[in-house]
Symmetry: D2
């Protein structure tokens, strides 16, 4: 049986190169084309020596594929995605172009009208733990933002179980690779090293993804989410600390164990989500597709606290993209994603 | 006029050595004795080559001083502090032994009865921005915890102004030096580098300091504070993100500017607290005694958000200790503390 | 056909856990037993959450295996290795116990007589690029030191070709994981971060490994090697800069290209050694079994300069161990080692 | 008596801002003007919040000063320096424009003819430990490169004493701030963090500074220096490891102690150079103007090994600049430079 032919559009960013790292080891697909504007014509191993073992040349234009990942920036991705859909190809869009269901909301956060609003309804928000069936049945997956993935996985069981008030705080700490490979003072080593700061303090465009997805699970359709991202001097990883007030009657004596049980049940069949017994570290999931979640209760203040960790390039981007691909192709979710985290 | 003779008990930890770094340049005092158990008899510059320029030998026992800093660990500090007080010396205790006014609360958090409860009432909680007069008049200052300093400075103006509900979340990110120089797996480079985690998730002993001090300012005597400390791969610095719901009528159109004005007024005469116009970085205050505070409002969710940054060894420990000493001695608060942050 | 049953003795250090990470994905062997003294009886994923996906319990005593890796410290490893050899098992010793052929030299560097000198002659120094046939034919491989691997691979082609004088300088820079997981002040985050130092300045015990192996290739049996290791604030990776004076007539006009050609030919059939066209970065090989080598010539000074990079836990330890296992078992060298470096 | 009026041209780089940090605390001068092209008109504390305590506005054009530091890039600095000299001002040029005495050599390394060769002879190479008298007597100091400072201080005593062969290897490891604040991929956090690489492998323009200055001390006028700089994931600091063969008769039994004595004597009156008894760390001199030097002998190979550490922005740039200023103005060398290194 011939393998599915897969391509990556814009391999030259951190998400693109992580997709290549995973896909070149995937046993059920063939990586046949990788594109990159400035680096076209060069060997991938010349531009990214970590892939020196992969004998491929960067294309200027995507070759013939059955399924493509678009790792283009938001705003520019639509122009790559739509023609592929029109040719009957399957597409996993790593950008924010098709994640929000409401084109008006999209415009608020991205600053201009959506480039192709009529395609939005075809897109499925790509968290397989929540939407596996729809992902399997669609041709277009909108791969979620890194922060959104960590926060939604942390909050989904509590939202579904209806145990928290709809006023949530998400305080996230991210490595620098989430900001991409392009040059900015805020990614300069000397500015980041031995430093921590909050940013996008007046509003970040991944917050509405959280509201949309938590809202689907929550009885109240529009929970309030105060989201604060921080930049941490590390390469990869996001830790999200989520805080919400437990509803009356939910913060009693056995609240901690009751909450853990809700989480364990919710993720009983999810191979990549582990409900852990100790506060998790981002290093535990570095380089992998895992998400570790630690829910607990502060009895003094009646708060649910949930900590989640992912690798922003793994479960937060490329790993989850490949997991979505597996679901779309009817493969076991874990195919090609078995690597454990790199430690230390 | 002869200079005040000053000593440091237990110079060999990170707080002790930072006190030495500052005090050996202080123009109005004379550093005459530094102690350290294991290193007694050695030149300070042999044990800590960064102080190679300081010609002092580490003592086994404190020499004759007018004022002493105790940098002993909590639990052990009382035994150094009380005899000095009994001899009429002034003492600044860097440990947690005398910070909490309620000996019962102290026992809950430190796990055993307070070693000398009758001295607690003499101690003044050493944040000069809040208690300058009492600090000037006492012989015993309890220098606050690093996390407590950042959070209390961030919340004091809002608490005093009565604009927030008494249910506060403090999410703090600290460098590793706050955990001290003793050896533990959680301070091992390979475990911390490229990692972030929350810790003391079920309760941290600096939280009651925040409750005590914010409670003094707040109409409601016992605000609820959910405190979550995180360990960040950096040496120095604490960023605290504080979240509280604004009271009805306080989250309107000009809320952001109104809140900033409250903060600017509160700290108008505080030389080391800057209310800044952009989200602050810990690097901005590295090596200095400054605290930068950025208050803002999330209009969508009605939340007050306050970000504060300090150097945990500066304003969070040794810097504030020297500031307290200046106040106790009637010197200008800024004497010997003029150094700007080391950048980058 | 049944798979080879493999075990790891002392899985709880950084080398042990990296062996587990690789071996649990290896398609041709079965990891059946992992031991660890203090952690015996616990799930591996409880102690090392990065392996949460691996359902194994840590044993107190090695189970029934065909081949074992000993990740015990030097001095203690012999007591594990010899009984296994006596039972006819194959062993890969990750320690320094069997690397030096001369028991007298061993005693000089390790400070006491060799614990089992009569077994030394059975051991093969485990660099497959140099000793593949002997590795295939032996029951005992002495896996080389991390620094030795990088330096020997960098110098072997020039030594074999006889183009350099026998007076070599090796200046190496290593990440902290090479110092292991045990607690020491020199691995404390605050001491290492934003710091670099040289150590073992008066002599390091991996130097004689270099002399032994380069000596085998070099006409002059005892080249002089000045070796200086440095500790760098990073987790993984070793960069070695090697300097030697080119012999008369070897530093001429086309020296650079001639040298490159010698290196390319030497490693033409080595799947894990890449002779690269730009100065290499340790990050290029992070988490992989690759070694990238860049040879060049300083025409002004007549020096050969060779830069090599490895992951000290990959090609410098666990990766090379698995490569040696593949050779011993008659498998393709690259089996289970195909992963590209993790970037960034 | 009125204070000397001092200015900084181009304060907005890392060297400029470090000059400002030191000079604003200097008791004998007045910092009256700081310039910066893009940031002109803004408060310095707005652009660099670490200087929030300094109430100065960035000028477009240098105000009236007695002495100026030019922190312009090489090639551009001459155009600032020469007019100031012509007006009788004293100038300390932080760039490479006036360091090399030979305009032909300058052209080889900087790629174009020297912009003002007739001024070169007025310039004094600004290492006060070597050229104090000339520095005092000149109006133009060429502040040395950071690498050059570390290497020259490490090698000067041995060169002067004539104990080494004239074939020297300098292997240096630098923090990223040495590469400046401008944006390049090689300063991107994700590329540098957890990485080490060599660069300028085919030749670095600070090497001829070393040859020039060591040549002045050495009997043989043109020693050969093989120089290899490395980039380390840290902010500040340079460690240089220097290797040279001891001359016949110099590597005997007491060579180590004899060499140390030569170094101690050479630097007996140098307040900022410490000959230390243990291998030095860059962290020991972080934020200070100190240089720690550790000379030793490898008896097996007959090599002199000298390790030196400086802060590349301290003794490697701004600190040494201020030291030069003190010498020019006839002040004690240490004025305003007493701060100890920031540790940890």
């Amino acid at each position: 049986m011939s393998k599915t032919r897969v391509g990556i559009i814009n391999v030259t960013g951190y998400v693109g190169i992580e997709l290549a790292r995973i896909l070149c080891q995937h046993p059920q697909i063939e990586l046949v084309s990788i594109t990159g504007r400035s680096a076209a014509g060069q060997k991938i191993g010349k531009v990214f020596p970590s892939l020196a073992g992969l004998d491929m040349t960067i294309d200027a234009k995507l070759g013939d594929v059955d399924l493509a990942f678009s790792a283009m920036p938001h705003g520019e991705s639509t122009a790559e995605v739509v023609p592929l859909l029109n040719c009957g190809k399957k597409v996993i869009d790593m950008s924010g172009d098709f994640r929000l269901k409401d084109a008006g909301e999209w415009q608020i956060w991205y600053g201009h009208p959506h480039p192709c609003p009529n395609v939005i309804s075809q897109a499925v928000f790509g968290i397989p733990e929540l939407h596996a069936k729809e992902i399997h049945d669609t041709h277009l997956v909108a791969n979620p933002g890194c922060y959104s993935t960590g926060a939604i996985l942390a909050l989904a069981p509590a939202a579904k179980a209806g145990i928290i008030e709809a006023d949530i705080i998400v305080d996230s700490k991210s490595g620098v690779s989430g900001a991409g490979r392009s040059l900015k003072l805020t990614s300069h080593f000397c500015e980041v090293d031995d430093d921590v700061c909050a940013y996008s303090v007046e509003g970040h465009r991944l917050m509405p993804e959280m509201v949309q997805e938590i809202g689907l699970l929550y009885a109240d359709p529009t929970p309030k989410i105060t989201f604060m991202p921080h930049l941490i001097p590390m390469n990869r990883g996001i830790l999200s600390a989520c805080y919400a007030t437990l509803k009356p009657g939910k913060a009693g004596l056995n609240a901690k164990e009751a909450v853990k049980e809700i989480y364990r049940e919710f993720y009983a069949d999810a191979p990549f989500v582990k409900v852990v017994d100790d506060p998790p570290h981002t290093k535990h999931v570095q380089g992998s597709n895992y998400c570790h979640i630690y829910p607990t209760v502060d009895a003094r203040t009646g708060k649910l606290i949930v900590l989640s960790v992912i690798d922003n390039l793994g479960k937060g981007a490329a790993g989850q993209g490949v997991q979505n691909m597996n679901v779309m192709l009817g493969l076991p979710e874990t195919t090609g994603l078995g690597m454990a985290g790199m430690y230390p």
